[in-house]
Symmetry: C2
Subunit: 196 residues, 2 copies
């Protein structure tokens, strides 16, 4: 009986600071430092060099509430990708598939601007820019990663079904096929197979 | 085969104007005029009087994209409740349950301020205020209605599971048990059974 009671969600509200992206009353604060995610960037030497010269840096953060992972509920989080580059490649998140592959995700832009990279296991891909006031719809079956292509923090609200689950492993094996780099003064999407 | 293809969602983005709440490329624009929703307000005479004296008025609007109504997808809309009162009662939406009662809903405040009224079929209730940058979580089993308690449009993004469905009928039979009125210069929640 006690367990059942714990599972019942009561209505609540939280505030997201539009400048910092900090969520009041968050249950979980994830911080990803460069030392821990260096291998997601294409130029490993540039990542190592930055760590040696400038020390560690926060690449991205997530604030979330603890919601039961079941059908019918909605998970939501505040996602903050900091500005920066490894070589010419912009700071970004690891990205993931949903464990339940058909689960979609919605992003709502709050501050800064960036790009959402999406790739299916069959190679199909899509890219959408996200800025304040815009919604990006990530359909099921697409791994998704956010890239900060601007000079200020790239902050958005993410909402996804309660039972989606995160699958980081599948995308870590081969990574995304495309990277986003600063080229001729603006962000450009490049296929890895066309590099070096 | 053609039908299946139509059901496959491709990644997309849309923009919500933060001042008007208008969604670019919306598939559906719902407009609820006072003449059509007058019976949701407590003081029917005040509603009739306003219609006779001032003509019809837009109470609220919704812009939405057409998303397949199935598990895994997410529905989303821009909701705009205009400022105004019928007697002392603030402009509000009809409100609804989800057909699948266990489906939750998330609101993200964009402009103005208001209140989200929530009521279960067993009488349990909750109220949350919503303003820019805040998230309100409406758990399953709660009928939900938004009330504009401010002087400007009350605009928010709503996200809910793809297969939720809208059930307006169940809440129309008895209505919500509480109304929000201007009293002593501020919004106050009053139980209908304590009125006249």
């Amino acid at each position: 009986m006690e367990l059942e009671t714990e599972m019942i969600l009561h209505p609540f509200s939280v505030h997201l600071d539009p400048v910092s992206g900090i969520m009041d009353d968050a249950d979980n604060h994830i911080e990803r430092y460069l030392s821990k995610v260096a291998d997601i960037f294409y130029d490993k030497n540039a990542a190592d060099g930055m760590l040696k010269e400038n020390g560690d840096r926060l690449v991205y953060e997530v604030y979330e509430k603890k919601i039961p992972q079941r059908s019918g509920e909605l998970q939501f989080c505040s996602s903050i990708t900091h500005p920066g580059k490894i070589g010419d490649e912009y700071f970004m998140t690891k990205g993931h598939f949903h464990v339940r592959r058909d689960r979609a995700e919605i992003y709502f832009g709050i501050r800064g601007s960036g790009m959402i990279l999406m790739e299916k296991e069959n190679g199909e891909h899509a890219e959408e820019t996200l800025s304040p006031g815009s919604v990006v719809y990530v359909p099921g079956y697409f791994a998704h990663r956010s890239v900060n292509t601007g000079a200020e923090p790239f902050i958005f609200l993410a909402v996804y079904p309660g039972d989606s689950g995160h699958d980081y492993g599948a995308i870590e094996v081969n990574g995304f096929n495309r990277i986003v780099v600063l080229k001729n003064g603006r962000p450009e999407i490049i296929e890895k197979k066309n590099l070096g």
